[in-house]
Symmetry: D2
Subunit: 353 residues, 4 copies
């Protein structure tokens, strides 16, 4: 592959966990090349000041934000910024012909009033926002292939939707009964210093947060579920914090329409649904996923169980929140947008044990 050219890529927002994962993945990608690394707080510093362990591989200095320069230099740009900033930058980059992947929530919603009611701020860019495709390839692969602007899914929605979609799409469950009890490692909270995320606070403990449909990933999950169900659906979503760095497990409950369905029926359906999805592994009957199995990979592991006593299906969906839940999935989308194999350059062997 040595004689094939590499595509120049830019990252805006280099210092967070999304940024460093993207940098890492680009180092190993055979067709992408890091051409720009920009950030505000760390502009002017070598990237290895932020992450000394990458000093031997990443020589870049973090550059100040200059959209013209980025567009001149890059064909593809990842925006890895706090919510509310990407939609101020993306239009310029798009107009210059860049493909843009936004890792924030800015372009995840087809209806901007949903965005503003959950994230605040003003948005008058409905026209551009409507061109954005939700970057969950297992559901929207074809549209991603044609997209110039991709709104990359949140980490919880990725795990939740991959677990729930086959059931909703096939009409196997009553959508209103769906409950997603999700658990995440603390890296999901980002690299900002917060007391509650200190090891001394967050270790040896377990708790829920944003209970009762108050987490911002709720409308994102509901948007896709409604799309799949064909009518508006409300989903019960509860996030929890696990004393570990990486990984999300979503435990999903829903009542079967047809109580006669057994585990093996559902496994057949799941396997069929994900037949062409190289990053989803439906586990054998009776095996349930460990988040660790996905650590460092772009994989989503899915286990399916039926409780014949209650007529419920229980689906467990495990991902690495920084990979399939963030940076890995963004690269997967680029692979699709560029017409490459969607597994290109992405790790599939977990960091284990």
């Amino acid at each position: 592959m040595g004689d094939v050219g590499r595509i120049p890529v830019g990252i805006v927002g280099a210092s967070g966990y999304g940024g460093v994962q993207l940098v890492r993945l680009l180092m190993d990608h055979p067709r992408l090349e890091l051409a720009y690394l920009g950030g505000e707080s760390s502009a002017g510093k070598p990237f290895s000041d932020l992450y000394p362990h990458l000093g031997h591989c990443v020589q870049q200095v973090v550059e100040p934000l200059d959209l013209e320069k980025i567009a001149d230099r890059c064909e593809v740009v990842f925006l890895s910024l706090p919510n509310g900033l990407a939609h101020k930058m993306a239009p310029t980059l798009l107009a210059k012909g860049c493909k843009v992947l936004d890792l924030s929530a800015d372009y995840r919603f087809t209806d901007l009033s949903t965005y503003t009611s959950w994230y605040g701020g003003d948005r008058t860019d409905q026209t551009i926002a409507e061109t954005a495709v939700y970057g969950l390839p297992e559901l929207y692969r074809d549209r991603i292939a044609e997209a110039q602007l991709v709104g990359c899914p949140g980490c919880y929605p990725t795990a939740s939707l991959l677990g729930l979609s086959p059931l909703l799409k096939q009409g196997l469950v009553i959508p209103e009964t769906a409950i997603i009890d999700a658990k995440s490692g603390t890296s999901g909270g980002g690299r900002q210093a917060k007391v509650g995320m200190l090891l001394a606070e967050a270790d040896n403990t377990f708790a829920a947060y944003n209970v009762g449909g108050r987490h911002r990933h709720t409308p994102e999950i509901e948007q896709v579920c409604s799309d799949l169900a064909g009518h508006e659906v409300l989903i019960q979503f509860t996030p929890h914090l696990v004393p570990m760095v990486r990984g999300i497990l979503a435990t999903i409950y829903a009542t079967l329409r047809d109580p006669g369905l057994v585990r093996e029926d559902l496994l057949t359906i799941y396997n069929a649904f994900y037949r062409n999805a190289p990053w989803v592994r439906v586990l054998p009957s009776g095996t349930y996923p460990q988040t660790k199995w996905a650590a460092g990979t772009n994989l989503c592991y899915i286990g399916v169980e039926v409780d014949p006593r209650t007529d419920r299906v229980i689906v467990m969906s495990a991902i690495d929140n920084l990979m399939k839940g963030q940076a890995g999935q963004a690269i997967q989308c680029v692979n699709i947008m560029m017409g490459w194999d969607e597994t290109l350059g992405l790790p599939q062997l977990a960091f284990y044990p």
Copy 2:
């Protein structure tokens, strides 16, 4: 209190986590005194060989099992053994006049066929088993006060039932909609060497197990829920393993019969329900429990939330699995059986952070 006599107490099964917690609690209890410490595998060894950090407080040598001797020496006996052994010892101890608290599953079921269908074995002791009281004081305080034989609840049932009982008892929710998504630290698995419980395996990961109503605590939860609801109820119960040593959080979902109820209504109901329960703390509106808040104490922390969009109540119930979930609750039961204040000698200030 120095001039009041202490009650001699025995522990059968000294080496596990239940045993060592009981020993520790007895050291600090003003009215109980450790008079016998027995075990099979460790008979003849000083207890401090098993737990060197207790060498300065516990001089006892683990004694071989001799029921006659135990009964001669002790007024109260804790049986802290694997399932299936207690019912072979308890009758002798009871006949000799001992009060017996069994920490295994042997005496948790009013119908022994439920026991044998989940735990196996033969049981022909229905008569004695029927005299056993389920040792959850917040529900069965009066009966515990009169009991000679107490079947101490499992750790998951304790957290689950304390969270769910007010809703069922008051008929506030549709029982069949109840889903308990429970998460436990790994000490719940005991002190047996198992590959899956090694730190190298169980750290940095999160997974469900016994999914689909396959965990043995399911019938125990259902027995009490059926009792409260007044008819047989099936409950969805899913346990998970958290990479931490101690603590259980049960996240409980149920659909409200009356969608008009708001969070504050439910908090009022919970506070009333637990008005005389010193070991249950209903948290203020909008506060959700951390398992760490209960660490080392006999407390159960409960947070209540309503999702007005879905008409569901979400209850979070947090305990220390080795305390309120095991040894602490057994001591609480003894306090009640002896007519003492049920908080006597039990820690209420968490090990924090």
Copy 3:
């Protein structure tokens, strides 16, 4: 003990880990009573806003700092503040007759120029500073009993000095060969939000910091070692961060003056040295301490080993950094200052497992 009066006690600096440990210990102390709880950043808030799990036991509101009011109300005052503040408050409290225990570094040094060269700032209070006693009871019990002002030791110096003192005091090792390789849980860094202390950063990793004699606890250790050795001694001290919340282990190396000494000789010497020290447990031959054994207690566990091949003694000293390393030791000092048993009200049974 019910008819004996309780001594009113104040805490200045309520919000940090030192503060909350003190509060917790006071709740269980039979002779001390929390009469004042003051803080700057949290003044006006109920203490249970900071630590909701203490809501059922601690009703106090954090009060603004008012030295007059504190002195009026309290006989004993704990100053639990960042370095450099206590010496501005202590003189007023002392003049009013309070006994003062400072948990910062302000009163640890007999020579204030040592303080200012490591901690910065100006200090012109040499006269008052000279009245302060270093609050390590195992070495300075008699002086603490007479003191009005106690400079409580740092966490690392406590573990290090308890491990090393018998060797230096008896002249058994060459002082200049002493190397202290110390390891601490992250709660030692306090409750301030810092990126490096996030669980996502500090978990699953291990590193040294302030290597080469650059940690501020170095001069504190050297001051006492010099005192014991009878001449000025430089000690090699290297701290490390362990991915756990609590606990310090100091592994101490030194070359024996007399190569003929064996492990049992040294254990005899250690046991004699600590014969009257209820908070130090010298472990049996061949047993080495786990930090967990001390968790939640005021104990220091010491293991002693000799390598006859190298003529070195290796001492391992384990404490809970927030207890014997901080709040517990301060209470121990108060017990001594008040003429009580030094074990009064302090836990000696570890939170285990």
Copy 4:
């Protein structure tokens, strides 16, 4: 590289952490191909029964041990077995022309009496053992290139020797003053079920073990140090267990012969020593390694510090114990033995955070 043939490789001892790391590394290696996977306890089972997360990549069934078959099929064989077994198999494989890499201690010692005095058993294979090369490429690259039999170093010796070698080789320190205080994650203990390695036991705690030169890695370290120093050297080596899965940090102390040397001098010397060592990264002045920086890679990170007050150098050396400390280094040796670039197929970007 597609048209270049792959070399068939066998692994004996598939079920442990060494085995699974080798399997994982072989999946990604461009020139090696897994041709045989053998084990005793798991013979007949699909490898994915042991490690379900590898089910999509590894189809092999674990085969019973048959040395003839292995030799027929493989050019290179990794023996990943408990100590004392490899020397019974290697001779047959060598006679058949295989290159053999032993991950146990069997071939690490030039003098078999050292082996038997630390590991027990009888060894009469001095002649074959003498042909073995110690597989630490940074010291013995040329000899490894010519070797047919490689004794791969232990995890602690790898970290220790990479940190200490430049000092000994250049005669910069007094060898007898060298103290290695080493800390390891619990995966170093292997995948055997042991009570002390349970998460419930080993989490939240820190302790030393095999103190006083009693760890079997001591003679291995001393053998190489003696080789470098030119005379027999005894080294103080103390291992500790860190509550984390992977990673070793060795903190190494030694007294400088020339007290005038400063940190920058030593960094220059280290950089020169490792100029051609792609897997060793000497960190910039004032930067100390985190074990996490090496996680999942074959890298060794080294930080160097001098304490001008004590004339000591302190070196910190960090590796992933399962990679550079075990499987990664074995692959590095194969790369060298085959005449390939020694970085071939080995990860150099850490799993971070």
